[in-house]
């Protein structure tokens, strides 16, 4: 059983610099957990604490039911894939993968078996005798994974492993990593700043910001029901449109607000670009909101069309995403409508989600 359990984990650096605050969650056995957030949010620090590369200032970390706070990295039965691969430059690919096993005095026959197996899985067989410098970025990435796989650890840790690859390779490797993880069934924790990677890889998504957790859950659930303003704007591309609203003082060009439970102090209204449909001019929406946009630009990419405009002519910028081709000319004013169920409201001060019942 390789469940990873974090209980009120925190990290403070010298000089009272707080990197991580009060993190609690549990990654189930065989689960793929992704930690996502902007640079500096503490996700890498958290991963390194799980690995034992940073000490834990507060709370407890358990791997497989065992508290590991004081246990050295090599005894935690984990393997890690680094962002810059961290391959040993003076060793061949084979030796890179065998190194960990040799350190644990694994019999040579067993080493050969495991390395061969991993090499086959990752299509590294032709490269076993080469040095890292002779490999491309993607190949090095796979060697780094191979090194983790042969160890057969309880947990895999990934620290932004795809950041140094070009876009196309990133897409391919993403699929491979997911496939591999499913097949090997090893509990995995994966750190990235890329929300697309996060959405596609995670069984369990943890969104972090400024050292604390914003929301945890299934990726699609986070997409459809973001718990905070931060999550709403972080997950999804193009990002959710956010408009400041307050009762009675609605920005120009927006209609249908009176049906929404907006508190006196005001709120943030959010609606995703794909939920804004071109509406017939004139006529209030049956149930939902209506936005009048002065269209600035239109991008037709074939399968979709993006419309960029300003609310009410001079208000906040709004993005709309329509399926297929839409004939709108820049410089005109058009109306877009969103159904009530697709409208989100967030508290103006705390950013917490509010009911739109």
């Amino acid at each position: 059983m390789a469940e990873v359990h974090l209980d009120r984990v925190g990290k403070i650096y010298a000089g009272d610099v707080r990197a991580v605050r009060d993190i609690s969650f549990a990654v189930p056995d065989r689960g793929f957990c992704v930690l996502v957030g902007p640079s500096g949010c503490g996700k890498s620090t958290l991963l390194r604490m799980i690995a034992g590369l940073e000490t834990v200032s507060e709370g407890e970390i358990k791997i497989g039911g065992r508290v590991v706070n004081r246990i050295e990295p090599m005894d935690r039965d984990i393997a890690m894939v680094f962002q810059n691969y961290a391959l040993y430059p003076h060793m061949s690919v084979y030796d890179n993968m065998a190194y960990g096993l040799r350190n644990r005095k694994t019999p040579t026959a067993e080493i050969e078996k495991r390395v061969a197996e991993a090499a086959r899985l990752l299509e590294l067989e032709p490269f076993l005798k080469r040095r890292p410098r002779q490999l491309s970025g993607g190949q090095r990435q796979r060697v780094a994974m191979g090194r983790a796989i042969v160890r057969q650890p309880q947990v895999f840790l990934f620290d932004e492993p795809l950041s140094n690859l070009d876009a196309k390779l990133r897409g391919q490797m993403r699929v491979e990593i997911k496939r591999l993880q499913r097949r090997l069934g090893v509990t995995s924790i994966y750190v990235t700043h890329d929300q697309l990677e996060a959405m596609t890889l995670a069984d369990m998504l943890v969104v972090m910001n400024a050292g604390h957790v914003e929301q945890i859950g299934d990726p699609l659930h986070l997409y459809e029901m973001p718990a905070t303003l931060f999550v709403a704007q972080f997950i999804g591309a193009p990002p959710m449109n956010i408009i400041e609203v307050s009762p009675g003082a609605a920005p120009a060009g927006i209609g249908g607000l009176d049906t929404l439970p907006i508190p006196p102090a005001g709120a943030r209204l959010g609606v995703r670009p794909e939920h804004l449909m071109v509406a017939a001019n004139g006529g209030a929406p049956a149930d939902g909101i209506r936005l009048e946009l002065a269209v600035d630009a239109v991008e037709a990419v074939g399968a979709e069309t993006y419309v960029y405009g300003r609310l009410g002519g001079s208000g906040p910028a709004i993005t709309c995403r329509e399926a297929g081709k839409v004939l709108i000319a820049p410089g005109t004013t058009r109306a877009f409508a969103a159904a009530r169920k697709d409208v989100h409201l967030f508290d103006a001060t705390t950013g917490q989600r509010m009911a739109v019942a």
Binding site: G52, L53, E54, T55, N69, R70, I71, E72, P73
Partner: protein, 282 residues
């Protein structure tokens, strides 16, 4: 990293402190000796605490010389060392900048040959060609002179190599922009390259100053007059006398004086010169 060896840091500090002690101790002893009298030392009563004759000893050594041996006030050799060290540093930097510039930024026949000709000198220090070089300097009537002390020692390639390496890291775009702006090679050198090169130049200055200041064999050979000697030779001259008469306290004072300028420069420009040393390795 989580490491379960609480005493590891303690051991490290211990080793480092011992290292520092070994490094500092001889100098400290010399300093203490330079503050006391000959009799104290001769009687084996040298303690670990400085005595009260610091000013007296240094004034004597600087301005009056020793009783026995050379009687040369050490202020003169000190000056000679300065002139020699600065001369070598400046000379080397100057000709090396020009050479490195020529080799990197021009294409011309025999360019590679010129590079190798200069590069080979790296391998052979002056000690290897000591007597023939002496003869040449003598033939040129440069014995017992500053040019004689300085010029033969600027023939090595360390600085050229460092500058060449540095110039390689200067982006091509700067040169291209300069050319478009109508600048010729000398203008580019003066207005763009030189200002960029302040760091390696300063690092080289420190390294060459120390090299020049610490030269021993060469000044030993080509200077005979007491007042042309450098301070490191001066120390040796004080020791020249038979044991019993060596004025150790003055010898130590001279030693401290000989160490002071280079050490001050190294400590003051530490970051700079460390970088210079590490770059030359590559």
């Amino acid at each position: 990293m989580v490491e379960n060896r609480p005493w590891a840091d303690f051991v490290s500090h211990l080793i480092l402190i011992m290292g520092v002690l070994v490094v500092v101790f001889p100098v400290y002893v010399a300093f203490v000796a330079s503050t006391t009298t000959m009799t104290t030392i001769a009687n084996g009563q040298l303690s670990l605490v400085p005595d009260r004759h610091l000013l007296a000893n240094y004034v004597q050594v600087l301005f009056h010389g020793t009783e026995s041996s050379t009687k040369q006030p050490m202020i003169v050799p000190l000056m000679n060392s300065f002139i020699m060290a600065i001369g070598i540093a400046v000379g080397k930097i100057f000709i090396s900048l020009l050479s490195a510039f020529a080799i990197i930024y021009f294409r011309f026949p025999f360019r590679n040959t010129a590079f190798w000709v200069i590069f080979i000198t790296l391998m052979l220090p002056v000690e290897v060609r000591i007597y023939p070089t002496y003869k040449i300097v003598s033939d040129l009537h440069m014995l017992d002179s500053y040019p004689g002390l300085i010029i033969p020692l600027i023939a090595s390639a360390t600085a050229t190599l460092l500058f060449r390496q540095f110039f390689m890291t200067v982006p091509d775009e700067l040169l291209e922009a300069s050319k478009i702006d109508g600048a010729g090679p000398l203008k580019f050198f003066k207005d763009t390259l030189l200002p960029l090169s302040i760091t390696p130049i300063a690092a080289m200055f420190v390294i060459q100053f120390i090299y020049g200041w610490n030269q021993y064999l060469w000044p030993l050979l080509i200077t005979t007059r007491d007042n042309m000697q450098t301070i490191v030779i001066g120390i040796q001259k004080i020791l020249l006398v038979a044991d019993a008469l060596t004025e150790w306290q003055l010898a130590m004072a001279t030693t401290i004086l000989a160490m002071l300028p280079p050490v001050i420069i190294v400590v003051a420009m530490q970051r700079l010169f460390v970088r210079g040393l590490v770059e030359t390795e590559k």
